[in-house]
């Protein structure tokens, strides 16, 4: 699965299943990029490059939405943001030990 999908199950795949009218078009990429696309499609979409491209388009929508939301407010202080990220990545909770 790619970062575009939720890794917990195949919802990303299901969402990307083809429905409705499809269009075929040509794109030009380097041989290396083509190989990378194939590899990514094999890894996450059963070899379906079209599904991978759908996911890339979906991620572009997500980034556009995030830009729109973030740019409504004044910039966030970088130090405050990094402190927030440290809190987020803080130590995981441990299961309580059973009493002997």
């Amino acid at each position: 699965m790619t970062q575009f999908c939720w890794h917990g199950n195949k919802i990303g795949m299901a969402r990307l299943k083809r429905s409705g009218k499809m269009e075929t078009f040509s794109v030009s990429v380097s041989p290396e990029t083509r190989a990378r696309l194939r590899k990514a499609a094999d890894r996450a979409y059963g070899g379906n490059v079209s599904a991978l491209i759908e996911a890339i388009a979906q991620e572009a929508d997500r980034q556009e939405a995030l830009d729109w939301l973030i740019h409504r407010v004044p910039p966030i202080d970088d130090d405050a943001f990094e402190a927030f990220m440290r809190e987020m990545t803080g130590p995981k909770r441990k299961r309580a030990r059973r009493a002997a």
Binding site: I11, A65, V73, A80, F84, T89, R93
Partner: protein, 130 residues
Amino acid sequence: MIVVTLDTGALVAMERQKLRGMMLLRAAREHRAQLLAITPVVAEWWRGRSDARDRIKLAVTLVPFPVRAAEAAGVVLGQMRGEKGRAMISVDVMVMAFAATHGGALVYTSDVGDLTRIARYFPEVRVLGV
């Protein structure tokens, strides 16, 4: 990338441009966090479309509630039988169960007190406030 489960209050915080809600969005923008919300949370949050809500819906990965999380939530709700306002906390329990089973064991909420109370049933889940 850190996986984060959001409750209704976290979505509201984003909608109302609260600082910590915006920080969650920035973390997603920088590919440092993946934001997940289960569909029952969407039911609590969604009150018709607006430009902001449409964008939040795109920014957050919306996840149908999985069976394994539903089973975990059911067991906990059974153990909480008799507690006040059990119906009110059903979605909170679902959020915690999802975080424990699928959602990165990290929850952002506007209601740290209630979710921390439920966290005794999900000791691996960290609860942080927006």
